[in-house]
Amino acid sequence: MKSWIENIDKPIKYALGFIVLVLIVGNIYTLINLGTMPFFSPNYLLQQLQVASFLGLIATGMMVVILLGHIDLSVPWTLTCAAMTATAVGGDGAMLAGLTAGLIIGLINGIGVAFLRVPSMIFTLGVNTVVQGLMIVHTGGYAPQTASTPIMNFLATGYIAGIPTALFVWAAIGGLIIFMLNRTPMGRYLYAMGNREVAAYLSGVNTRLILIAAFVICSLCAAMAGILLAGYSAKAYQGMGDLYLLPAIAAVVIGGTNILGGKGTLAGTVVGAILIVLLQSVLSVMQMPEAGRQIIYGSVIIGMLLVYGRAEKKES
């Protein structure tokens, strides 16, 4: 029986290690400049986890699609659309409306990929621009309300027993996904199709249904994240999702999910999301110029993957 350390798969181990590294570097910086070490303070870490839960939610959904060997580039405006719909409708129905918007976009993506067989990479890209167009008409034409409802605010910024509510939301949805992946046929089919869609199809799997379901899950996660983000800023606004697409993909991949599908764990994605949020935060605090940020950001992703690659090689 291997010790639990060995049981954690490589990517997660390395990512965790890197997270610690980032925090240490950050603290050294502040220690030198301010004489404090705020990055280990629980309230900073909780705050980061709160922010991470937005990215984490999106990455969770993205991972489900990536497991199929597909990708969803429509996330940024799915998220924005959900947030704007929610705030425009307002009241008790707000969140439901937002999620419905997500559901519809997910269905469109799924149908496009499953029935028209357009590569997801390009179809979702198109859907993204279409939704953006719709939102511009929405804002420009109808001057909708954009204030988030109290419950959205609470979910995004509230605390339960000193722990951010957003974290609970993330945990709950993450839990559902983990359950789906490990215990239900749907999960098994996802991995199977990610490895070989034809073989799954010829085994009598309803591959179209799975495809659509996956894209719907992804869009729903994005929509939920949008609703939380609206709660976080107390409002929905144009382009609020633009900065979440690439980090989400990066989080999934840094978490050890194979971008070609068929292999990956949600635990990894969670760690990946936290890593990225922390990295961004520390760099921002260090007042690193944009140029430096971009370079570090890119180097980290490649570095991690190269390390994983070596690890895989050693194993085999």
Binding site: R183, T184, P185, R188, Y189, Y191, A192, N195, R196, V198, A199, A200, Y201, L202, S203, G204, V205, N206, G262, K263, S316
Partner: protein
């Protein structure tokens, strides 16, 4: 062993290839251990062995695809270490691999001249010259009818294999290796290959020939080497050993007749499946057949005459077919494999197990249970214990040789992979089993087990449709055989009519005098 010593002494000048103490490990698996092996110039040298005996590995080492863990390799007396197939081919060692090495999206000509095409004075590929070269080579393998401009992906499998051979010849080999190069070919095509290979032998070319079809080897080989569990058992001239001896060497145990006895059906079989005037896309024309409970019917004929399509149609893969498919007398519109599975309790063992039958990187157990998950699900949740139990049962029943059920199915050898596919379907409790050339690339021992299995299934009330490119199987296994020709069934053979002459004759649509030619359907 006497033999071995004997040919060690033979002087090395006429040996084009010598292996000494070659071993190969894949992680834990020992694919080859301490192999000494050599082969004479200008001979056709057959290599036999069960699945996983190490044949392909041997080939891969000789042709530089993988490097041996230990041992030395001599070509024409010179010690060589090939780092890649390219390097090997520079020394005249050219290989036709078990997995085809053609590029589907390139033209036949491009493929034939893929490695070093004719160049024009700018050093660019000379398309016209390339066409010419390709045309010549195609003619040389009697495939003048193939248009060198055609994309490979538009060719039927049998044609592709000929192109593969043409391509190999284009590289002016001294030692040509064919790893189950004929496994997809039907009798007629194989004949062509024989002629070509014999011709090449006249030209002084040496050939290593791997096949699981005994009669091919008898026809072709001068010398035979038998491998088992990664070891070189013995090498001898053709005729020095009887078939049964050879087969026993391969499987390492007593060996009885390959095919289980056929029961004599009283002709009142309860019909489970009826096909009436099925037509599709010009490739199936008014095909009608009936399948009785406990019956094994065979589909014969040259490759690509519609046998593959009829199976797909029955499994709900083909869109817009005309005609009727009736299950237990009830007509059903087959729309998807899922429907075929659930409504018809039909199973299909697909033609290409690696791409259509298996998720190679996934574990053996995941592959076996994938088709049965819906049955194994309580509420939303997969009942893992029940799953494990059933899988263990299937592995036991099919006697699949595995290390651990968690291992990737990719690490199994051909035969065992095929067993996994079949196990997957039997686990669903399918009643009608469609077999699409199920024994391609599978060794005699395993074949025998499978034939027995098919018969047992039939006796236990399953009904089987078996398409095979190897007519021995049709003869040995089937209660009835329908011969396809250009999308139609042109002959139906039953009982004693099922014999080599009739099948070959019918396949080529030749009239043969007398009743024995079988009855028109």
């Amino acid at each position: 062993m006497v033999e071995q010593v004997a040919h060690k002494r033979a002087d090395d000048s006429d040996l084009i290839l010598q292996l000494e103490g070659i071993s190969k490990r894949y992680g834990g698996v020992k694919a080859l251990s301490q192999v000494d092996f050599s082969c004479k110039k200008g001979s056709i040298h057959a290599i036999l062995g069960e699945n996983g005996a190490g044949k392909s590995t041997l080939i891969k080492i000789i042709s530089g695809v993988v490097q041996p863990t230990e041992g030395t390799l001599k070509v024409a007396g010179q010690v060589q270490q090939f780092a890649s197939p390219t390097q090997a081919s520079e020394y005249g060692v050219v290989c036709i691999f078990q997995e085809l090495s053609l590029i589907p999206d390139l033209s036949v000509a491009d493929n034939i001249c893929i490695t070093d095409p004719p160049r024009n004075r700018f050093g660019l590929i000379d398309k016209a010259e390339q066409i010419r070269v390709a045309t010549d080579l195609l003619a040389r393998v009697n495939c003048a009818d193939v248009n060198p401009r055609e994309l490979v992906k538009n060719l039927p499998l049998s044609r592709r294999q000929m192109v593969e051979i043409a391509k190999a010849l284009g590289r002016k080999p001294k030692l040509l290796i064919l790893d189950e190069a004929t496994s997809a070919l039907s009798a007629a095509d194989v004949e062509k290959v024989y002629e070509i290979l014999r011709g090449l032998r006249e030209e002084g070319l040496t050939m290593l020939y791997i096949s699981h079809r005994m009669h091919e080897i008898e026809e072709l080989a001068d010398r035979l080497s038998v491998f088992r569990n990664g070891e070189h058992i013995e090498t001898f001239d053709k005729g020095a050993r009887s078939n049964d001896e050879i087969i026993e060497m391969m499987i390492g145990r007593e060996y009885s007749s390959v095919f289980p006895p056929k029961p004599t059906h009283d002709d009142k079989l309860l019909t489970v499946l009826e096909v009436e005037n099925l037509s599709w896309d010009g490739r199936l024309n008014n095909v009608s057949l009936t399948l009785g409970e406990g019956e094994i019917i065979g589909l014969g004929g040259l490759d690509g005459q519609g046998q593959h399509e009829i199976l797909l149609a029955l499994f709900g893969v083909l869109r817009g077919y005309e005609g009727k498919i009736k299950l237990h007398g009830k007509e059903v519109a087959m729309g998807s494999p899922k429907q075929a599975k659930s409504d018809g309790s039909i199973a299909l063992i697909p033609e290409d197990r690696k791409t259509e039958g298996l998720m190679l990187p996934m574990s053996i157990q995941d592959n076996i249970s994938i088709a049965t998950l819906d049955q194994l699900t309580k509420g939303l949740i997969i009942d893992k214990s029940a799953e494990a139990a059933k899988i263990a049962e299937m592995i036991e029943k099919m006697s699949i040789k595995i290390g651990n059920v968690d291992d990737a199915v990719a690490t199994l050898s051909g035969g065992n992979q095929q067993k996994v596919v079949i196990a997957k379907w039997l686990m669903t409790g399918a009643k009608i089993v469609l077999l699409d050339d199920p024994t391609r690339g599978i060794d005699v021992g395993t074949k025998q087990e499978l034939y027995q299995l098919f018969r047992d299934l039939a006796d236990s009330g399953h009904s089987i449709i078996l398409y095979s490119t190897d007519y021995d199987e049709l003869i040995g296994c089937c209660d009835r055989v329908s011969i396809f020709y250009q999308g139609e069934i042109i002959r139906e053979l039953t009982g004693d009519e099922i014999n080599e002459t009739n099948i070959v004759a019918a396949s080529l649509n030749m009239e043969i005098s007398g009743q024995q030619a079988g009855t028109m359907p």
